[in-house]
């Protein structure tokens, strides 16, 4: 049998850095093939070459046994890939929110009635009826129902993803690449997606999934290819492998997947008291009340966009929300009403922001400056307003060692570091003065497995040392492993509370979808 996709000794380097070295593997037709690997392992590079975004330096890719259409080794753009039946669903959906589902699918391949063929292409009226007939057929065939006339902004993330898949099927894609497809889905939506993908495969499509969630690989894929440091380090049939083996292959050493939480220390006075907080905003908060005590980790789970970001805003920037917010927030016993961010942080609050690229780091600046960000007014980093770079250098090299930040260069630009190492800078900085109250929002997002283990350990260590931790995460595994108490947020409300051990993935998933007990 001829494989649907075959990578043959593919090489790609950027400015002398080898992103892909001798990549060779086959993807059989009608299967679900998972590509796993840590950040920077080269899996995205390989997929981007398949999709035509990059051209390989050496080697070739065969589609259905053929070097692609006339061209010797690669195509020059995604357009070529789409024409040859390859489609990609990106991690961040490429949809236009104010347009309908139908228009999003048609975008770029609009058809019009032959009557108008005398007009230049861009001026012809779009014939939606014709397209809808074809789409209805596709939707029936694969069981992918969508309300064509609904605006994308009003649809759930799961449906949006369905539209992305339909987009590819409408373009007659035979090979579908999905980049981290479950990152934004609830457990229920995930299993729905998986059922759909299985059906696609039964009907002869080939699916490639890029992911780092090993559990999902085990539950859906037929084959798996493991990337590490730019090379393929293993290929397995799913039936012949297990999670531990895949994790070891990925990281190159043994990892503990579940952080073993030591018994919680004595829980003490509250570090955060929120009572009756409401916020008027698009994803507002509605009468939120809870406490975080010193020595406990409180996890907030929920699908993103249900008020978590707003909660963080309210906690961190009280002054900007004095008018739109009601209720009271007390941090370490003090009401934060009207406080500036600086004042809040000075109370002893450490923050790991969810979007570190936007809120956590100065990307164009060296590691050293990023470590200083937020600490610049503290001794010993400055005295009477003058910075002391020698003291800073000493502290930074200590932090680089302690947190194993790679490359261990103070002058390396933050943007050049991997996600895990960037996050370590943020953590090193926020932990510098042992915060009494730590807010960790999506602390392991886009972070490789080895670093996840490390970050979880640090968070647990903070708790052992008596910090109160507010953990906001959409990763259920993380929430379940770390939290002493779990709050489920839905539509700006706290919908449910679980104690450690009481919560199951199912129960949490149901609540995350808004089900009331």
């Amino acid at each position: 049998m001829i494989p649907a996709v075959e990578f043959r000794r593919l090489n790609k380097s950027f400015h002398g850095v080898h992103a892909n070295v001798d990549i060779s593997f086959k993807v059989m037709k009608g299967t679900i093939h998972a590509i796993i690997g840590e950040n920077g392992a080269g899996k995205s590079t390989a997929m981007k070459m398949l999709y035509g975004t990059y051209q390989p330096d050496q080697g070739e890719i065969l589609i259905h046994g053929k070097s692609w259409g006339g061209k010797p080794k690669s195509w020059t753009s995604p357009l070529d890939a789409i024409r040859s039946g390859i489609g990609m669903v990106h991690q961040h959906f490429m949809l236009s929110a104010p347009h309908t589902a139908l228009d999003n699918i048609l975008l770029g391949v609009e058809t019009s009635h032959p009557f108008f063929s005398f007009l230049p292409k861009s001026l012809r009226p779009i014939s939606r009826v014709q397209a809808q007939v074809k789409l209805d057929r596709i939707a029936d065939q694969y069981g992918l129902k969508v309300d064509w006339s609904a605006k994308v902004e009003n649809l759930s993330v799961g449906i949006q993803q369905r539209i992305e898949i339909l987009k590819l099927l409408y373009r007659d894609a035979e090979i579908l690449i999905l980049d981290e497809p479950t990152a934004v889905l609830t457990p229920q939506e995930t299993s729905e997606l998986f059922a759909q993908l299985k059906k696609l495969c039964q009907l002869g499509k080939t699916v490639l999934i890029i992911t780092h969630k090993l559990k999902e690989v085990m539950s859906i894929a037929d084959h798996v290819t493991v990337f590490r440091a730019g090379r393929v380090v293993g290929e397995r049939e799913i039936s012949e492998t297990n999670i531990e083996e895949l994790a070891t292959l990925m990281v190159g050493r043994k990892v503990r997947l579940q952080a073993d939480a030591p018994p919680p220390p004595q829980v003490k006075e509250p570090v955060l008291e929120i009572s009756g907080v409401s916020l008027a905003a698009r994803h507002g908060l509605k009468n939120v009340s809870f406490q975080v005590k010193a020595g406990e980790i409180v996890g907030i789970s929920g699908v993103e966009g249900n008020g978590q970001a707003e909660l963080l805003q309210v906690l961190l920037h009280p002054k900007d929300h004095t008018e739109s917010m009601t209720g009271e927030v007390k941090v370490l016993g003090k009401s934060t009403a009207g406080m500036t961010t600086e004042q809040v942080k000075e109370l002893g609050v450490g923050v790991i922001p969810d979007d570190r690229l936007r809120d956590g780091l100065l990307l164009d600046r060296p590691v050293r400056d990023n470590f200083l960000l937020g600490l610049q007014r503290r001794k010993p980093f400055s005295r009477a307003g003058i910075l002391s770079y020698s003291k800073l250098s000493k502290e930074v090299s200590r932090a680089i060692e302690e947190y194993d930040i790679r490359p261990p260069l103070q002058q390396a630009k933050a943007s050049l570091l991997s996600g895990g190492n960037q996050q370590k800078i943020v953590i090193a900085r926020e932990f510098k003065y042992s915060p009494k109250f730590l807010i960790a929002s999506q602390p392991t997002r886009g972070v490789d497995v080895g670093a996840i283990e490390f970050i979880h350990k640090r968070i647990l260590k903070a708790r052992q040392e008596g910090s109160g931790v507010l953990l906001i995460s959409s990763e259920l595994d993380e929430i379940l492993a770390l939290s002493d108490r779990i709050l489920v947020m839905f539509d700006g409300r706290i919908l449910a509370e679980f104690k450690r051990g009481e919560a199951t993935e199912q129960a949490l998933g149901l609540r995350m979808g808004g089900a009331v007990s």
Binding site: L316, T341, E342, R358, L362, D364, L373
Partner: protein, 371 residues
């Protein structure tokens, strides 16, 4: 090693300047002049004698101030197009203080004058800073508008409040003699004064503030990523207001050289667009304070050198200096060309036409985002 890293940073603008000047001289060829002759006139006009060199420094001084002003605002993420208005306000403030307090003691008067320049320009810079920080209205529009307001306001104050009764010109009365700073006899009468050294000092102070102090760190953090700075507890709005006020103050210092070192009074429209040329100066120097001094010198020399063209050539006038400025800036800002050159270079290596790979430092420099 350190030097090797810096080398492309120094070489690239130098090469760009050469290319820009060559293109400009080519234009004179088309206009029917001998380019070598034009070049000779330019160089002689700018550096030919003590007086010429002095005039070059005289033009350089305000450009250092305005260049620093634009650069300072830029480091906080704001684009200060209002240096022209700020320098007018600064200069008028110096003149006003010099006229209203004629009895200030000799040692205090220059200090008062410098303070007036900083405060006058600073207020004019703080206004758009405040509007941006608190009201969210864009500083580009506001600084441009404030240029017009400054032009009108300074004219009105000059003509109605501080008018020189002995002159038909739109200028104020002379400031008290104690305010005047002496011109260096070395330059055979060119109006080079201590203001030039004030400019050099300002460059040092700006460098020190931006790279050595907490304030500078915070300002640059805001300029780099407002959201990251805010999350770190930095008051972005306050930093931007401060940055704009300081930028305005720097532009206002132009008034020191003009009023105290040259004209003894405020003259309406004394600036031939120093504020706008300052944008080019800062751009060429990539907002680095010490590079701004060099960059201002280049623009000063072009300005001075080109003024000789009127007399000495048939077909080109001093306006050539504007063409040269434009071409230099075009060449310097044509970043993509360097990337293209890098790609071509790599292609040559790939085809084995040349051997060694470019050093990683060079590659790094090619792809690093620009400040």
């Amino acid at each position: 090693m350190r030097f090797k890293e810096k080398l492309p940073q120094i070489l690239k603008p130098l090469i760009s300047i050469m290319v820009g000047l060559s293109l400009g001289l080519l234009v004179t060829k088309i206009a029917g002049e001998d380019p070598w002759n034009v070049l000779e006139i330019l160089v002689r006009g700018a550096f030919g004698s003590r007086y010429d060199f002095g005039m070059t420094l005289f033009y350089t001084t305000p450009l250092i101030f305005t260049g620093l002003s634009v650069a300072f605002a830029f480091h906080s993420g704001l684009f200060n197009i209002g240096a022209e208005g700020q320098l007018a306000m600064g200069a008028l403030s110096v003149a006003a203080v010099g006229i209203l307090f004629p009895n200030a003691p000799g040692f205090l008067a220059p200090v008062l004058g410098v303070l007036a320049a900083v405060v006058g320009g600073g207020i004019w810079g703080a206004i758009p800073g405040w509007l941006r920080a608190r009201r969210g209205s864009h500083e580009v529009i506001n600084t441009i508008m404030l240029n017009f307001i400054a032009a009108g306001l300074t004219s009105w104050v000059t003509l109605y409040l501080l008018k020189n009764p002995d002159s038909q010109n739109p200028e104020t009365a002379a400031v008290a003699p104690s305010y005047l700073i002496r011109q260096f006899s070395f330059f055979d009468g060119a109006p080079v004064s201590m203001a030039f050294f004030v400019a050099l000092m300002a460059a040092f102070v700006v460098w020190f503030i931006l790279w050595k102090t907490v304030l500078g760190f915070e300002i640059r953090a805001v300029g780099q990523s407002e959201s990251a700075a805010r999350s770190a507890g930095i008051d972005a709005a306050k930093m931007r207001m401060l940055a704009m006020a300081i930028a305005g103050g720097l532009a206002g210092l132009v008034g020191v050289g003009e009023v105290m070192g040259n004209a003894d009074r405020f003259r309406v429209g004394f600036s031939p667009g120093y504020g706008f040329t300052g944008i080019a100066v800062a751009l060429l120097a990539r907002n680095r304070p010490f590079a701004i001094v060099a960059s201002a010198l280049l623009f000063g020399a072009l300005h001075k050198g080109a003024s000789e063209l009127d007399l000495e050539t048939e077909n080109v006038t001093r306006d050539l200096s504007l063409i040269l400025q434009a071409l230099v800036i075009l060449c310097v800002s044509a970043e993509g060309v360097w990337d293209l050159a890098g790609e071509r270079y790599k292609l040559l290596i790939k085809k084995k036409w040349i051997r060694s790979a470019p050093s990683p430092e060079l590659a790094e420099e090619h792809y690093s985002p620009k400040v």
